[in-house]
Symmetry: C2
């Protein structure tokens, strides 16, 4: 039943991740052939940088500069796209699928923005489109959603999917240092890029959340409707206050069933210190899924890096190769539909933490709680700390009961106009995971 | 491409888990049909107890008492085996597969003892044999090993796979109570059976370890070679001492590559208190896998119960149904081979914890360490506690560096002969996860 001819692979992009994948394809030939049912041959590498072949021990003749060569070649079975970014990766994937080539990609941006379209093109052309590496590096996630959890109605996903920010937040919490210092350490260790904007701003996590939401809720997600917010505004004192209240601070990607809609948002969150997600430290990722049958499951591991990413990319390649060898259709079984919409951020309801600098005088709290009350926001606890006699200010921390985001935003505007409020220094949402 | 005829299912065994599966099949018809590509019809229930149909709202006519009816029927596509235990479940599964029926089972004992044979029969007859529910309840595990981690050489598996014992150990650790009290609480809450022998004795975990070892190391495991030991000998004071040294105590199922062999053993283990597995409390399961590419991944969730188990059983059913509907072969891709052997327990090397009752007099430690030294066992730390002046004894706790199990066993025999050693109260292996 097993064809013995090699499965021919073209690799688009041979940067850090691409080099990792090439290295595994060449160094683990025997293991991979045994799993796939036939040899996996890296027969083409498409990159502008032709110089990599030396360090990787690859035949220089397989290097080409035009992606067209790979996509037009009748010999290529599987295209691995590891260029990253939206364009030209999107175009290449689309063209490859349209020509019936199977595609494996780690591209979160393309899958977040164009996943539904690409899956549908793949289905039409009986081509495989796999993207296990696009979320959580080597942690099995896409495949568990597509296969193991399909009997469930997913209720919620809470995910730490950005290792850079989780490293920074862990450092801020444990070493009591400020954001800038933690970021510099992360950069020094290679955990943050020179331009870390996409990571610390929450955009990277938002791409991954779009993919997880689409899988978990079987829906065609419009990426632009996903709310995201980064970690740069967090201060060391927020971690201290959070700890005093029994909370940790994490950047979470959250997708949650909310009646007929789905909440999908990325922002810093206070979560109970004893929850398992609070214990996920450093560059590790963890994805917590709540389903009506399975209850709560958690997947944990390294979310990035060439080695962990190779684990997922090559598993996808092997899976496609097995299907080719046993003449099974590689077409995606399922293309998400517009079954539900994303709940507008203004309409979500959760608990909130505020840190404010106020004048250190009587009656301040009365004024604040009166404004909160006018917006139906009920205060659950207040802590006043560190009054600064030199400028007669004090810092207060307020935690609310469940309130509506729009009401909270309105209350903040009103509070900002109060003379006794010098500054709303931070506001962080709270989740009871 | 999708056939619209229903996929017909026969359910063997309608106890607690079987009832749960039947309930999901009837209550989630629409969701399941959408995922499977056609309706899933529960058309036969085989059980001696015909009375269940009332509470489950099932047609009494689908109840039969002879499994032959299901296996001989041309109409049945998938047989779900939820009888449990080795016989007659093994015979029924074997016969069903031999007739080309697809089988889904949650039966850890059958898969641990006969997995390789049954997978090979399934392969011959192009029949599916899925067993996701046999380990870790609803936590995706079998499928990640079969699909997502295939590019890895697995180095080690450390698993909490028995919820009953993990509940008891959590209780003993947090409430500082003894084994018997914790067991009674577990029984009261339904977390332990009236006869808890298989759980507390480690046998249940050993079945699951056999399956995980087979998957992780692609090997045909001889179940009889797996060492297992239970938790009944643990005392409240062991948890106290462990905590003082910075450790927690868990019942772990361990499979580990050790040169050309594989270690496979179940026993109580001291693990560092800050490790993620140490934080898995109550009836939850967690499986920690270390692979050469993926690094360390952890899967966590409810390891038992009708609802979580249904999640896995029905995912398996849906997967088979999808393949039937798209005319893909359901045969297992991979049948484990005798690629490696299990390392004899006497040959393993790890660290050890001893608790002994000794005479409270000078020179005792010298005698003990002399015996240890004679067996090349090096002591890493000693704690002397609680001398009892009434009978002139003291309790000492010794932790060793890495030593060979056979040497440790020999040293214990020698120590037992020492006049100054009243009793070796406990010895527990230590793992640095």
């Amino acid at each position: 039943m097993v064809k013995k001819r090699a499965i021919n692979i073209a690799l688009l992009g041979i940067g850090t991740i691409g080099s990792g994948v090439a290295r595994v394809l060449t160094s683990k030939k025997k293991t991979l052939a045994r799993q796939a049912g036939s040899p996996l041959a890296l027969t083409m590498v498409v990159d502008k940088d032709m110089a990599r072949h030396g360090t990787l021990g690859l035949d220089p003749e397989i290097f080409v500069t035009s992606y067209k060569k790979a996509i037009d070649s009748d010999d290529i079975d599987i295209v691995i796209e590891l260029i990253g970014g939206e364009y030209p990766a999107y175009d290449y994937i689309k063209e490859a699928l349209s020509k019936g080539k199977h595609v494996v990609t780690a591209n979160k941006e393309v899958m977040a923005k164009h996943g539904t379209e690409l899956l549908s093109i793949a289905q039409q052309h009986h081509a495989g489109l796999r993207f296990e590496a696009s979320v959580g590096g080597g942690i099995p996630l896409i495949s568990p959603f597509q296969r193991d959890l399909v009997a469930n109605d997913i209720q919620a996903i809470y995910a730490i999917v950005n290792g850079t920010t989780n490293y920074i937040l862990s450092k801020m919490a444990h070493d009591k240092i400020d954001f800038g210092v933690a970021l510099k350490q992360a950069q020094k260790l290679g955990y943050a890029e020179a331009n870390p904007a996409n990571d610390i701003g929450g955009l990277d996590a938002a791409y991954k959340l779009a993919i997880l939401t689409s899988l978990g809720f079987d829906m065609d997600v419009n990426f632009d409707e996903i709310y995201f917010e980064g970690i740069a505004k967090l201060k060391s004192r927020d971690f201290r206050y959070a700890a005093e209240f029994g909370y940790a601070i994490k950047l979470l990607a959250i997708a949650k069933r909310s009646n007929s809609l789905v909440e999908a948002r990325v922002h810093p969150v206070l979560i109970p210190a004893e929850s398992l997600l609070a214990k996920v430290d450093g560059v590790y990722n963890a994805i917590y899924v709540s389903g009506d049958l399975v209850g709560n499951v958690l997947f944990y591991g390294q979310g990035a890096g060439p080695s962990a990413t190779s684990s997922a990319v090559i598993a996808d390649v092997i899976n496609i190769a097995q299907n080719i060898n046993t003449r099974r259709d590689n077409a995606p079984r399922f293309v998400p539909e517009k079954t539900s919409g994303i709940k507008p951020m203004a309409d979500i309801e959760t608990r909130y933490y505020f840190r404010m600098s106020v004048l250190d005088q009587a009656g301040v709290l009365a004024q604040i709680s009166s404004i909160m009350g006018s917006q139906s926001i009920s205060i659950s606890s207040v802590m006043q700390q560190e009054s600064d006699p030199s400028n007669r200010t004090a810092e207060i921390v307020i935690m609310t009961h469940k309130a509506r985001e729009s009401a909270v935003q309105k209350a903040m505007k009103m509070l900002n106009k109060l003379k006794v409020v010098k500054e709303i220094s931070n506001f962080i949402r709270i989740e009871a995971i």
